[in-house]
């Protein structure tokens, strides 16, 4: 193996081969986070269930019972858990991957490895929560005796899209927060705000039916809007994954690709900045 570092030559895209060579580190960091996460907590692993369950109950009470959001013949809790599963993963990656480089500054200052491993390993930890939410979803299907939609074969595609959008956003934030620590304070706000402007608790048709076209365009520039709508369409058969949802896919793809490029540019200076 030969390593050459030249001040004049710098690759714009991450070196995938090098990334793959560090897969063991990726694995170890993810295992570490999983182990540490529930160490010395009373409920331990049960927390992975309690959190989405509490969100589901509150949402069902407020939007299902009190506000009575129209969800066709799908029971509201089932409608909600589909959105919650996507959103809680997105929120997790935003929070954990977003703050991961700052959180790992001790290591970053002392050891070299592709820095992308850090936010990626955090995002992998979130898959655990996603899995729990999916199991809850299956349980609700059984409970209500409902069968999933015929579009179910598209569900894996949308699952990948959820991960892609979450990663793109998380990697952007992790790189930006190296220079702008303020982002640490903005992320909780983004998560809170995003919950309202993404069709999690309500169908996107609520928006398209009530606001002018340019507001709809703005709404679907949020990549999660179209992806969640499509995810729900693939599982429950509700809504329309075409139309403006395509806009979300484009903005999501843009976010994903640019995140790697920006991250790479920050990788160059990260050890001098953190």
């Amino acid at each position: 193996m030969r390593i050459t570092v030249d001040a004049k030559h710098w690759k714009v895209l991450p070196d995938l081969r090098e990334l793959f060579a560090h897969r063991d580190l990726f694995l170890t960091l993810a295992i570490r986070d999983l182990k540490v996460r529930y160490a010395q907590t009373v409920l331990g692993l049960a927390w992975a269930v309690v959190q989405p369950l509490a969100t589901l109950i509150i949402m069902s009470l407020i939007f299902g019972r009190a506000v009575q959001v129209e969800t066709g013949n799908v029971p509201y809790p089932l409608f909600a858990i589909v959105g919650i599963s996507a959103w809680s993963y997105f929120a997790f990656v935003l929070k954990e991957s977003g703050g991961s480089i700052i959180g790992a500054q001790e290591i970053v200052r002392k050891i070299y490895f592709p820095r992308l491993i850090i936010p990626l390993s955090k995002a992998a930890v979130g898959l655990m929560d996603l899995l729990v939410a999916l199991l809850m979803m299956i349980a609700l299907f059984v409970w209500y005796g409902v069968s999933p939609s015929a579009h179910l074969i598209f569900a894996p595609l949308y699952l990948v899209l959820i991960i892609v959008v979450a990663l793109g956003t998380g990697i952007w934030i992790s790189a930006l927060s190296i220079r702008f620590r303020d982002l640490q304070h903005v992320v909780p706000f983004m998560i809170q705000f995003g919950l309202f402007i993404t069709p999690i608790a309500y169908p996107a048709s609520k928006i398209t039916a009530s606001v002018p076209h340019w507001v709809q365009v703005m709404y679907f520039l949020n990549p999660m809007a179209g992806v969640v709508e499509g995810w729900r369409w693939s599982i429950l058969g509700l809504g329309d994954p075409g139309g403006l949802c395509i806009l979300s896919l484009v903005s999501g793809a843009f976010l994903f690709v640019t995140s790697f490029i920006y991250f790479r540019s920050m990788e160059r200076v990260v050890a001098d900045l953190v």
């Binding site: 193996m1 570092v5 001040a7 580190l25 540490v36 002392k110 050891i111 070299y112 200076v269």
Partner: protein, 410 residues
């Protein structure tokens, strides 16, 4: 196949100060900047125009005083930070130990941390698994291997961390001052392990303040000054060039004359200096030499009877002793005074000693001033020292007094 392992050409690293938000220049660096550029320019070259090569199996030591660019150079070679100019090529796998124990997680057990730390340092999981028993053996913490590391003593943590690091098998190893850790017994173990590594044909780049470690481990030595290579060659010659360089920025003397009077008005310490028996200011001494520590102080207010109290620590921060003039042996009238503290030959061991001062009145007891790590001195071991073991083995201990031994036949 060529034996050239490392080629460094014109390597340089510039730090910009007062740059974009988020930039966090370390205090020492901005100090350096002010000193070097007069506080005007915004650029600071931590390393500039450094070129050298290493062949397979060579161990090269890098020395230089604090801020000379040693750590920045190693950081570039271990790819933590990117050079501003120049280039380097390394043939083979590199491991850098800029600080042992990087990435240890307090909540995880020793076992889990071995895997974590090992993979962070570039080992494969399978590799860690294979060497696991050896690592645990070397660390000497078998009993606690399933206990979370947060319950370890700092010594145990360091042992475990070094044990992992010592089992890396890179072709090129970059080490920064790992010998400063652990107790003497463990240090010797580490030094032995590093010698093994050097003898096994691996290439080593080694930064240290420990001149005897450089001399015994390295085949070549590079002296850095203000980011540039000042000298390169045989370690013995380079280390003595470094030590003998009459450099007032070493801590042989410390001018505190601009410091304020203590807040209670009792007085202050104005000047500290090490001198040899001829009265010349020194920053290092041989184990076999006597030397003095001169303390200039000022009593400002009648009523207090302050005197300097010296607390002497070794380089691991362990206190060796505390000494002071005592009651009835010091002036009480306002004025300026010089106290001379005479250290006999054959008292200190080979180490760097740090002296902190209290400026205090004993009766009634009141500490007026505290000067932490006010001044330091490097004590070197003469090869012919009478207290040295005949085999040239390391003489352990915080001090090395020369005692009289009488042996008679029974």
């Amino acid at each position: 196949m060529s034996n050239r392992m490392v080629t460094v050409e014109g390597l340089g690293k510039r730090y910009k100060l007062g740059g974009p938000t988020g930039f966090d220049p370390r205090a020492r660096m901005s100090e350096n900047l002010k000193r070097i550029t007069g506080g005007k320019r915004e650029d600071f070259w931590a390393v500039r125009d450094v070129s050298f090569t290493l062949d397979r199996g060579e161990a090269v030591g890098i020395i230089g005083r604090n801020g000379a660019g040693k750590s920045t150079l190693l950081k570039m070679l271990s790819r933590i930070t990117v050079p501003t100019e120049g280039r380097f090529t390394i043939d083979g796998h590199v491991s850098s130990l800029l600080e042992v124990g990087t990435g240890f997680h307090p909540e995880l057990s020793g076992r889990e941390n071995i895997f974590l730390n090992g993979t962070i340092l570039g080992m494969r999981r399978a590799e860690v698994r294979r060497k696991y028993d050896e690592i645990v053996d070397f660390s000497g913490v078998q009993k606690f291997i399933d206990t979370p590391v947060k319950h370890y003593s700092s010594g145990q943590k360091v042992r475990l961390a070094f044990a992992v690091a010592a089992h890396l098998e890179p072709e090129v190893m970059i080490i920064d001052e790992v010998l400063a850790v652990g107790d003497v017994e463990f240090q010797r173990k580490c030094l032995g392990k590093m010698k093994d590594v050097a003898n096994s044909g691996r290439t080593i780049l080694f930064v240290s303040h420990n001149m005897s470690a450089i001399n015994s481990l390295c085949s070549r030595c590079v002296l850095l000054d203000a980011g540039r290579v000042e000298a390169m060659g045989e370690p013995g010659a380079i280390t003595s060039q470094y030590l003998n360089k009459n450099n007032d920025e070493l801590t042989g003397e410390k001018d505190l004359s601009s410091s304020p009077i203590s807040s209670d008005g009792a007085g202050r310490i104005t000047h500290l200096r090490w001198t040899n028996t001829n009265g010349k200011v020194i920053d290092h001494a041989q184990v076999t030499q006597a030397f003095d520590l001169e303390v200039d102080f000022e009593i400002a207010e009648r009523g207090y009877k302050p005197q300097p109290v010296a607390l002497v620590y070794n380089s691991k921060g362990e206190q060796a002793f505390m000494t002071f003039p005592g009651e009835g042996n010091h002036p009480t009238e306002p004025g300026r005074y010089r106290a001379s503290l005479h250290f006999p030959a054959n008292l200190f061991n080979e180490d760097t000693y740090y002296v902190s001062f209290w400026f205090c009145t004993w009766l009634p007891h009141k500490v007026h001033l505290v000067l932490e790590n006010a001044i330091s001195i490097q004590v070197l071991d003469d090869l012919e020292s009478p207290t040295r073991a005949p085999s040239y083995a390391t003489v352990t201990g915080m001090l090395r007094p020369k005692f009289q031994w009488d042996i008679a036949q029974l």
